[in-house]
């Protein structure tokens, strides 16, 4: 009984993290029609940068922490600052990649995917060079420490907090998409890029913005994820497939789809690992395959990839 409860609570927490990871991936996929295979690398890089900003890394970048004076800040503030800085840095990286590389291959979707694949090799090796091979754990800021009793089990607070963060990000994204001009343009682009272009939207600038937004979200998720997963080489290829499953299940470009998909995947993963470990990954990827075959547009999406 306790076992099921604990697994369920943990699934919800992991679902929150997955949404942070997958929401940006979904927007990029929906708008630009390509799975950005660098997304897992953005997540990992975000985690590493956050660690460096907090001065926890083995690298010279940790000097940045001193330079920014993060060490002098209250630890809670420093943590959130690190997450935001990582997001901003990744947004810049993402924007640059779109502007300098993907833009030149406009319309050639396969070539774009291949470029993101090559970039993931490059980022993985740069991270290994900078932060070396040791897994680096990140301990939660003081307000998120400790555990909370839920029924007969206790559960760490920082994990529960990921759900709140995810909901906050979801609401913010929804407001942007639903209430702003930018959001309207994105929605138009996702629905019908040709019509959007004809109606005077500068689709190319939109691509840059959305790619930067997606990368920034991944970087932010990386810092939050570092609390749970610790950052290490290979984290990129661990996370990318999860983001893929979420978005294929939910449908590309759909925010509600990413939200629901995240929790479905988290539940499948947690209960799979516990109850049928030998088929844990099978059960994770089978739904993705089935959706691709039977409902390529996903549960909430409009387009097949």
């Amino acid at each position: 009984m306790n076992q099921g409860l604990l697994l369920a609570v943990n699934s919800i927490a992991m679902g929150g993290l997955l949404f942070l990871l997958a929401s940006g991936f979904s927007l990029v996929f929906g708008l630009m029609r390509i799975p950005n295979l660098t997304h897992g690398s953005f997540f990992m890089l975000g985690g590493y940068l956050g660690i460096s900003v907090l001065g926890k890394g083995p690298d010279t970048l940790s000097q940045v922490s001193l330079w920014l004076g993060v060490g002098g800040l209250p630890p809670d503030l420093a943590f959130w600052l690190a997450a935001l800085l990582a997001a901003a840095a990744l947004a810049v990286v993402g924007g640059a990649i779109e502007r300098l590389l993907l833009r030149r291959l406009a319309g050639q979707e396969l070539a774009q995917v291949l470029v993101t694949l090559g970039l993931s090799f490059i980022i993985a090796d740069l991270c290994l060079m900078t932060w070396q091979g040791d897994p680096i754990p990140l301990s939660p800021p003081p307000t998120l420490r400790g555990s909370l009793p839920i029924g007969h089990v206790v559960f760490p607070i920082y994990r529960l907090a990921t759900v709140l963060i995810a909901v906050a990000v979801a609401v913010a994204l929804w407001l942007v998409l639903d209430r702003t001009r930018l959001g309207a343009m994105i929605r138009a682009g996702v629905d019908d890029p040709v019509m959007a272009r004809v109606s005077g939207i500068r689709v190319s600038r939109l691509f840059t913005l959305v790619f930067a937004l997606g990368a920034g979200l991944a970087g932010f998720a990386g810092v939050i994820g570092a609390l749970i997963l610790s950052v290490e080489p290979g984290l990129d290829t661990d996370m990318l497939p999860l983001a893929l499953i979420v978005v294929i299940l939910g449908g590309t470009g759909s925010l509600p789809g990413a939200f629901v998909g995240s929790f479905v995947v988290a539940f499948l993963e947690n209960f799979g690992q516990a109850w049928r470990p030998e088929f844990a990954y099978f059960m994770l990827f089978l739904p993705m395959l089935l959706v691709l075959l039977l409902r390529p547009q996903g549960l909430f999406g409009r387009h097949a990839p």
Binding site: L101, L114, V115, I122, Y281, A304
Partner: protein
């Protein structure tokens, strides 16, 4: 043309005398180059001639190796194990094709990726069958017609034979009407349908052909390493072989071979001198996709032709050049 012939003869000569001039270590690296060349040639059938980019071919590569390793470890002889592995290759390729050919482009890529990940997940976690992270050891290499392949030169010789077979079958395929119709489905699928071709059937057959050679490469890999592990089936492994095809030049015969040599040599030999070989590979890959999308082999040929023509032009009309500007 004669230059090309010269290059090929030099390579063939090097390949032929290698066992007598190189140490076991370099002979083994050469075997690995050939194995990955076969793998890349197999994938190239889809990527280059059918226009279908698969990111799940490591699944076929791995299933072949696991089938053989599992049967040998269970006490079967090498011959029945290899035959069963060949059957497994065809079956798993057919499964891939049935599922993935519902889509093209990104959809095809995603479906092959999903199947590849499922197979990797089974290899990684279905411990009772696959041993998981521990992998499966293969105590010996087969001895066809009583010839042991345990030494590096003899295994290299065997690999060269299989490689030549693969190249022969590929070049036959490219020139055949079937190869031509496959290229037709890549460039003009609607017109091909209108002309009465069954596009799906052509692609299905191409997938089997592609999967077959990818699987044969997996089988050779299992004999070479005498060990199989889930690392063979990862997404990274699928990406690596795709990198070979694209970097060398998809849709050509020499391209995938050159790509395989590039990656394997970077990984095994250059890695001792250049610690950041992964970074270099990534940069080369991105540069090729951006600036030489046809790949190294056709790209360099194009550059060479252009330079030659330019040289000829300048030689013929040195005076005219100045006045033009």
């Amino acid at each position: 043309m004669s230059l090309r012939l010269l290059a090929w003869s030099a390579l063939a000569l090097l390949g032929a005398v290698l066992p007598w001039i190189a140490s076991d270590y370099y002979i083994d690296v050469a075997s690995q180059v050939l194995i990955y060349a076969i793998f890349a040639l197999g994938l190239n059938v889809l990527v280059g001639y059918a226009g279908l980019v698969s990111l799940g071919h490591a699944g076929i590569f791995g299933v072949a190796a696991y089938a053989a390793a599992w049967l040998v470890a269970a006490g079967f002889g090498h011959l029945p194990a290899a035959l069963a592995a060949l059957v497994a290759i065809v079956l798993v390729s057919a499964l891939y094709a049935l599922l993935s050919l519902r889509a093209t482009g990104i959809g095809f890529l995603m479906i092959t990726l999903a199947i590849g990940q499922i197979l990797w997940g089974l290899a990684y976690r279905w411990i009772d069958v696959t041993g998981g992270d521990n992998g499966i050891s293969v105590p010996s290499r087969p001895a066809p017609f009583g010839l042991s392949l345990m030494s590096a030169p003899s295994f290299y010789g065997f690999t060269v034979l299989v490689f030549l077979l693969a190249v022969l079958s590929m070049s036959g395929f490219v020139r055949s009407p079937f190869g031509a119709s496959l290229k037709g489905t890549r460039d003009q699928p609607r017109r091909m349908t209108a002309l009465g071709y069954n596009v799906w059937c052509i692609r299905f057959a191409a997938f089997l052909f592609s999967g077959f050679w990818s699987g044969v490469a997996g089988l050779l890999f299992c004999y070479d390493e005498q060990f199989v592990s889930p690392g063979m089936l990862t997404l990274g492994s699928s990406a690596e072989v795709l990198l070979m095809v694209i970097a060398g030049g998809s849709g050509t015969l020499a391209g995938p071979v050159v790509g395989a040599a590039l990656v394997v040599i970077m990984k095994n030999v250059a890695s001792a001198y250049i610690v950041r070989w992964n970074l270099v590979l990534g940069i080369i890959f991105v540069a090729i996709v951006m600036f030489m999308p046809e790949g190294l082999v056709p790209g360099s040929a194009r550059l060479a032709r252009w330079a030659y023509a330019e040289w000829q032009r300048r030689r013929r009309a040195p005076a005219a050049l100045g006045s033009e500007r």
